[in-house]
Amino acid sequence: MATKIFKHIQTSVVPLPIENIDTDQIIPARFLKATTREGFGNNLFRDWRFDENNAPKEDFVLNNPNFSGKILVAGKNFGCGSSREHAAWAIADYGFDAVVSSFFADIFKGNALNNGLLPVQVSDDFLKKIFDAVDADQHTVVEIDLVDQFIKIVATGEQETFEVNPYKKACMTNGYDDIDYILSKKELIEEFEEAK
């Protein structure tokens, strides 16, 4: 089954300079009762975005009309905590194509990659450069190229390369899918079971 293809984007960014953002913040547990993958974007960062009466909190970045774009930039250890893939669905469903941070929790990283949402891990320094650039100009544009594995602040030309598992890169740039790959080795699985 083909999945979403990701090769290259260039857009403004949404900054969220908070560390250790856990998946309970990205999508609180009470919104995990849906049985489909759609619609989680409405509740992305629910309790930071809305108050008890469901009114938008003005000081939260997603409610600030000056910020928009397809790249979320967040503090280190993004996506820690619960394994809920709903977190990746919510971010993608909201309209983001990539998340940039100086460190990602393992399970979140895997979940994102499985949903065409690219986690881009940059150095602490480069993360700070992006935050500083956005501080200076809210419409700072960032380019991410998965094929050549670099991220660039367009206005200043500052750039950094990033790591990505070569298999996962092939999946994302071609729309390949893990299950198709494993099932292509079905004989090996059956042989393994026989030998056990």
Binding site: N20, A29, L32, N77, E85
Partner: protein, 474 residues
């Protein structure tokens, strides 16, 4: 060169390994529950695939279920729908379900071990990050996302790169009143909520060896709270005794064969780890968290750190956490009034936890300002507690024993801590809103939670133990 325990188990489960690709790892048992499985079943339907090995898939309903009146239909409509969906999906795909009302129902990480499904040397996955619990048996156990749940359903395999290996040793004798939960909260407070990311962590040392299986499960359970991929402890006689005779444990000749294999499961003396850390048991106090991630923990007599003690770029996040918790720099938690005590979750809801709490609260009564919930990890734990008369002790102490489920660990059902209230909780996460919108969580051991319920304040269990003759073994 020798091999680590982790590598021995991993190598025994590799179906295919190709340069540049993650390994295809065979999964012995896949545990599923109502919250992270519906989209995976839908995926199978779209692909027109069956569950590849339904007999190696075990389902239960735990995250969403009420913890009172479980014999009645679930009131909350969305929860009921999700639980019903699991029942339908299991029937359609031929999966055994330990649903509500079944004698084996319970929190997925409690029932796997207690039914003898989790065994040394095995590989286990579940769409829940605390799957690391099962590593206590000397097994590889991962939490996975829903796309991977679908993957394992479709293939009984998981595509996974081999993580790095870390060994964490704890040696020495624990203080009276200090237990497994304090050990793991202490380790996480030392290495941070991200300190184990990318690693499979093996816990070793004589302090770990001296723990019961239930204590070991508490330790491995929280591996994910330092970001580790999984946690594991080499099996020994304690492990073998625990598994023996359980419902689905191997029997007869099979058992002898299994035990012979389990005895080969340890890290060789010359095995290389990518990282080795050591801690002294004597340094560990009863622990409590003060912040909004499990790495933000201190000994119960210590003070909350000062904002200025952090690097400038971390100060904003730190202040945000303290504000959320309604705490200030240098505050001491000891003596702080609390509102709720939650004894439960896959970290601390097993029969030993309940026995320990019951022994302590016997003849005492909770403080008036505190609401206490005791939520057993499984139907079997609940029934055992009742057989042992623990429910009566709890009742007299004002600690009502509820029915099994995840409950206030994540507040998906009705068991939510109200906004602004403080809860001393034996669960594993103190994230913002984890126990209910704007709830405030102090993570601690069952004994610390029980003592705090009695006084109505954050309490040092050692003070109680000093003043009573009873030596509590933790």
């Amino acid at each position: 060169m020798g091999q680590t325990l982790f590598d021995k188990i991993w190598d025994a489960h590799v179906v295919s390994s190709n340069e540049g690709f993650p390994d295809i790892l065979y999964i012995d048992t896949h545990f599923i529950h109502e919250v992270t499985s519906p989209q995976a079943f839908d995926g199978l339907r779209t692909r027109g695939l069956p569950v590849f090995r339904p007999k190696q898939t075990v389902a239960t309903a735990d995250h969403n279920v009420p913890t009172i009146d479980q014999h009645l239909p679930i009131k909350e409509e969305l929860s009921r729908y999700q639980v019903d969906m699991l029942t339908k999906n299991c029937a359609e795909f031929g999966i055994e379900l330990y649903g509500l009302g079944h004698p084996f129902q319970g929190i997925v990480h409690v029932i796997g071990p207690e039914l003898g499904i989790t065994r040394p040397g095995g590989t286990y996955v579940c769409g829940d990050s605390h799957t690391s619990t099962h590593g206590a048996f000397g097994a590889i156990a991962f939490g996975i996302g829903t796309s991977q749940v679908e993957q394992v359903m479709a293939t009984q395999c998981l595509l996974q790169s081999r993580p790095k290996r870390m060994k964490i040793e704890v040696n020495g004798t624990l203080q009276n009143g200090v237990g497994a939960k304090d050990i793991i909260l202490y380790i996480i407070s030392k290495i941070s909520a991200a300190g184990g990311t990318g690693y499979a962590v093996e816990y070793a040392g004589d302090t770990i060896r001296a723990l019961s299986m239930e204590g070991r499960m508490t330790i491995c359970n929280m591996s994910i709270e330092m970001g580790a991929r999984c946690g594991l402890i080499a099996p020994d006689q304690t492990t073998i005794e625990y598994v023996k005779g359980r419902e689905f444990a191997p029997k007869g000749e099979e058992w002898d064969k299994a035990v012979a294999y389990w005895k080969t499961l340890y890290s060789d003396a010359d095995a290389q780890f990518d990282e080795v850390l050591s801690f002294k048991a004597e340094d560990i106090e009863p622990m409590i968290t003060y912040g909004t991630n499990p790495g933000m923990g201190i000994g119960v007599t210590q003070h909350v750190p000062e904002t200025a003690s952090f690097e400038t770029k971390e100060q904003g996040s730190y202040k945000k956490a303290l504000d959320y918790m309604g705490l200030h720099d240098d505050e001491q938690l000891l003596g702080k009034p609390i509102d709720y005590v939650f004894i439960g979750s896959c970290t601390n809801s097993r029969i030993e936890d309940l026995r320990q709490v019951a022994e302590f609260v016997k003849g005492k009564h909770k403080a008036d300002n505190v609401t206490v919930w005791v939520v057993p990890g499984s139907k079997q734990v609940q029934e055992q507690a009742i057989r042992e008369g623990l429910d009566k002790i709890f009742d007299e102490a004002g600690f009502p024993l509820r029915e099994p489920g995840c409950s206030a660990c994540l507040g998906m059902n009705e068991d939510k801590i109200p906004a602004g209230k403080y809860c001393v909780s034996t669960s594993n996460r103190n994230f913002e809103g984890r126990q209910g919108p704007n709830s405030r969580t102090f993570l601690a051991s069952p004994l610390t939670a029980a003592a705090s319920a009695i006084t109505g304040r954050v309490t040092d269990i050692r003070e109680f133990l000093k003043s009573s003759e009873s030596e509590l073994v933790s």
